[in-house]
């Protein structure tokens, strides 16, 4: 979810169009009227469980004046769909929603103008009802479909298209039901995992036993009819007619293959120290530096703290899956990727072909929370399918591959020194963030970033992941700059230039540790000043929207009237995601038993204009539960050679009995821009849980996850 976006290049000399429309300017790239009564909407953003298809349909329905049920969504496909880059960074509504709104508003205006010219009815006397254009007497004088053949969409959108004013919206802003949910409740074949093409074969990869292991040999193995073993360097796979045959064959081949293994991973027990050493060898930059220009009270007290988080896994409920088929020198891939064009580019590079020989078709997968194994499995399916030209081949990863070989969110260190004046006012802030880069996404580097590319006989090098700059949301340093009023500030970043564990973007990126560490220090500063954590925050916030969410969450939770309960605690935290996105304030209540249980969360959010209130509440709540899971349970474990947390037993996530009750209230601002909702609540939830642990136990935890071990460390 690193916020790079091809739509966001406003300075190319062309008139600025909103969101992804800027780089995909023709109306026909977004809309078609293929048959009477049908509107085809062609988004470049994809459904990853967040409900984007429903929200885009709502926006289009309003601006076109058609019923939502008339809108059919085209499957995002390279060469056919607008290139909206990656569905990430909580930007789908900002980039895609803004574009769809503009495209539809422009289309409606053009049709109005043409119908007016053809009929002589003035534009202001024409009304549009469900796609039919009606004259003053209510009679139909044209429709989107009556003019569908007129080529009106074969034009660039004018920059001055006027979307409807907020008060005129009838569909956007309402909680309409998700379009994809019925299929999922009735078990329909909607996921790429369910795709069945005629003659389809099944494949499994035989993974190396450890990271960077080299394949030395494969012994003789009995192969069922129609099955085969495929090898390219240390990339080893099997193909069979039936899925269970592929599964069994992979097990037999694994047992007969020999690998050369080496120690490539750091000492897991000294991960924080390794990060510090590798950081010292890494690339140092100053993210923000500002010096107070006088009028600031002298610092009399300071708080110096170090925070650490482990590698974190995506842990989607389904392993990654893809289907590929070669027809001549062209390969088609069905994939749950977040970016069809980015994936296409890396696949073409790895196959040493041109991008016109690779077609990527999006199909939904299970929930996606960032750059997971979707792109990796897609390349692998294409590599394996070369052995069976003309036949579709489905590759499905195992649970162990999903938890062991997909990219991880990087382990990090954050060191903070904060100073306050005699009256408690925060006057200085210095911090240093140490991390691997948070983006190893495909399509952004001359070398492919997908896992198989470095295991081929003619391999591509593995480069350390890049880290997006703060201007596009930042990676490790995302939310590393406190949103409080602080006169002097210096934020430094050390990016590791070595990457023993492959890292990339996961929901929240660096914000998870940054929001937690900033809010933890704020709690300590409040205590030093003898003030309530809420009051202390409020007096360092100038921005009304920041204050509003904090006050709202506090009111929801009864923060000010809270009573201490033995073994229970409450904490409060807030942030503005990416410092330019949605606001979230969270109050957490925990119960300290043999371990910490988060029992309740109260969340107030502000994401600007809300397209679907229920959908956005669902995103805020889901992000918060994800955050609680990260806070209390999640940690990738490894020895010197292999990831050992490659099962649900080794990588537990929150279960039903451990999930907190959640209340969400959104402050709707229909007149203000969309801000994106998927990631905002996660960091503040982790931070609020940490605050609540202190409230209950008087212990300030310094290492994620907040387990009995990390609490014991903080107590010592």
């Amino acid at each position: 979810m690193s916020g790079f976006s091809p739509g966001a290049r406003p300075d190319d000399g062309r008139p600025k169009l909103p969101g992804s429309m800027h780089a995909n300017r023709r109306l026909s790239q977004w809309l078609a009227f293929p048959a009477d009564g049908v509107v085809t909407l062609k988004p470049g953003k994809v459904e990853i469980g967040q409900g984007i298809l429903t929200a885009l349909t709502q926006i289009a329905a309003d601006e076109l004046d058609v019923a939502p049920a008339r809108i059919a969504l085209a499957r995002t496909t390279t060469g056919e769909s607008p290139n909206e880059g990656v569905t990430s960074g909580s930007l789908s509504i900002q980039d895609g929603g803004s574009a769809v709104r503009h495209a539809c508003a422009a289309t409606r205006a053009i049709f109005l103008q043409v119908i007016s010219q053809r009929t002589g009815v003035p534009i202001e006397r024409i009304t549009v009802e469900d796609g039919r254009f009606l004259g003053p007497d209510g009679a139909e004088i044209g429709s989107y479909w009556s003019l569908a053949g007129a080529g009106l969409l074969k034009t660039e959108a004018p920059a001055d298209a006027q979307p409807k004013p907020p008060a005129a919206r009838r569909v956007a802003g309402r909680s309409i039901a998700r379009l994809d949910l019925p299929d999922k409740v009735f078990g329909a074949a909607r996921f790429v995992n369910d795709l069945r093409l005629p003659g389809m074969l099944h494949a499994r990869v035989v993974r190396p036993p450890s990271r960077r292991a080299a394949l030395r040999g494969v012994g003789e193995v009995a192969v069922p009819p129609g099955a085969q073993v495929v090898r390219d360097g240390s990339f080893l796979a099997v193909i069979a007619e039936r899925e269970w045959e592929a599964e069994a064959l992979a097990t037999r081949v694994a047992a007969r293959s020999t690998w050369e293994e080496t120690d490539t991973l750091p000492e897991a027990d000294a991960l924080a120290e390794w990060l510090d050493e590798a950081g010292a060898r890494g690339e140092s930059t100053v993210v923000v530096e500002r010096i107070a220009d006088g009028g600031v009270g002298a610092a009399v007290r300071s708080v110096t703290r170090r925070f650490h988080r482990p590698y974190i896994a995506h842990a989607s409920v389904a392993p990654s899956c893809a289907v590929a088929r070669w027809d001549g020198d062209v390969v088609q891939i069905w994939s749950h990727t977040q970016g069809v064009y980015n994936l296409r580019d890396d696949v073409a590079t790895t196959l040493r072909t041109t991008t016109d020989k690779v077609v990527v078709r999006h199909m939904e997968g299970a929930g996606c929370y960032g750059h997971n194994g979707a792109d990796d499995v897609a390349l692998e399916a294409a590599l394996i399918a070369r052995a069976v030209p003309g036949r579709p081949l489905r590759l499905f990863w195992t649970r162990a591959e999903e938890l062991g070989w997909a990219p991880f969110s990087p382990a990090m260190l954050v060191e903070i020194e904060a100073e306050q004046a005699a009256d408690g006012t925060l006057v200085g802030w210095r911090s240093r963030i140490t991390s691997n880069g948070h983006s190893g996404r495909p399509g952004r580097d001359p070398n492919p970033t997908l896992v198989a590319a470095s295991y081929l006989a003619d391999p591509f090098p593995v480069k350390p992941s890049i880290n997006p700059p703060l201007a596009s949301g930042g990676g490790a340093q995302r939310n590393g700059v406190p949103f409080y009023r602080i006169p002097s500030m210096r934020i430094g970043l050390r990016r590791l230039l070595e990457m023993p564990v492959r890292t990339s973007a996961l929901r929240g990126l660096g914000a998870l540790i940054n929001v937690w560490s900033i809010e933890a220090v704020m709690d300590e500063l409040a205590a030093l000043a003898g003030e309530d954590p809420l009051d202390y925050r409020l007096r360092h916030l100038d921005d009304a929207r920041s204050r509003d969410v904090l006050e709202r969450a506090a009111a929801m939770a009864g923060w000010r009237g809270r009573a201490r309960r033995e073994g229970w605690g409450m904490g409060i935290a807030a942030a503005r995601y990416k410092n330019g996105g949605a606001w979230a304030a969270v109050v957490a209540e925990i119960e300290a038993r043999e371990r910490i249980f988060c029992r309740r969360l109260w969340i107030a959010g502000d994401a600007g204009e809300v397209v679907n209130p229920d959908g956005i509440a669902n995103q805020f709540e889901g992000g918060a539960i994800h955050g609680a899971s990260v806070a209390l349970l999640e940690r990738v474990t490894f020895d010197r050679r292999r990831i050992t947390s490659d099962s649900w037993e080794g990588y537990p996530i929150l279960r039903f009995s451990e999930v907190p009750q959640v209340a969400v209230e959104m402050i709707d601002r229909p007149e203000l821009p969309f801000l994106g909702a998927g990631e905002a609540s996660m960091g503040p939830t982790i931070a609020a849980i940490a605050g609540a642990i202190h409230d209950a136990l008087r212990v300030r935890v310094r290492r994620l996850p907040f387990t009995p071990e990390s609490i014991a460390e903080a107590t010592a």
């Binding site: 996921f191 994800h626 999930v659």
Partner: protein, 156 residues
């Protein structure tokens, strides 16, 4: 050949008996509702009802269900004739990616069959074998409660 009752109809699937029931259902059975998540009985994505009781299809040999009744989410209801749970899940918008729902729905159906008015703790206990990564748990719990109420009012 493995013969059993699948969603109320007799089937005979051409496959080895030692292969898992999940492969049988998704392969020759032609279904998509039961889903693979882990293969180790840790996530519940593959859950089906075996003679009315929840069972992990990912580890159960297909041959072991010979002569027995298997119900999948497809057997609970259809868009035209939905199970009260399916209606309730839609009413509560209880899902995000939805991959976990097939298994959760059959476990919830088994729960309501044995306890028509479960409290939240009972619902959570019944659903604890299931993982949901998107964080739709609270909506799912509300949906099960809503279905219980709907079924109770029909019975009354």
């Amino acid at each position: 050949m493995v013969a059993f009752t699948l969603n109320g109809a007799a089937v005979a699937l051409d496959m080895p008996a030692e292969v898992t029931l999940l492969h049988a259902l998704r392969g020759p059975g032609g279904l998509s509702g039961p889903r693979f998540g882990c293969g180790t009985e840790d996530c519940g994505s593959c859950m089906v009802l075996l003679d009315g009781a929840p069972a992990y299809a990912c580890t159960l040999p297909a041959g072991s269900v010979a002569g027995r009744a298997v119900t999948t989410v497809e057997g609970l209801g259809t868009p035209d004739a939905p199970h009260p749970l399916q209606t309730a899940f839609l009413a509560e918008q209880a899902g995000q990616c939805g991959y976990c729902l097939s298994g959760i729905l059959v476990s919830a159906a088994a729960l309501l069959a044995r306890d028509p008015d479960p409290d939240d703790a009972t619902i959570k206990a019944a659903l604890d074998p299931h993982l949901c990564r998107c964080g739709s748990h609270n909506r799912i719990i509300r949906a099960v409660r809503r279905a219980a109420q709907a079924m109770g009012s029909v019975a009354a």
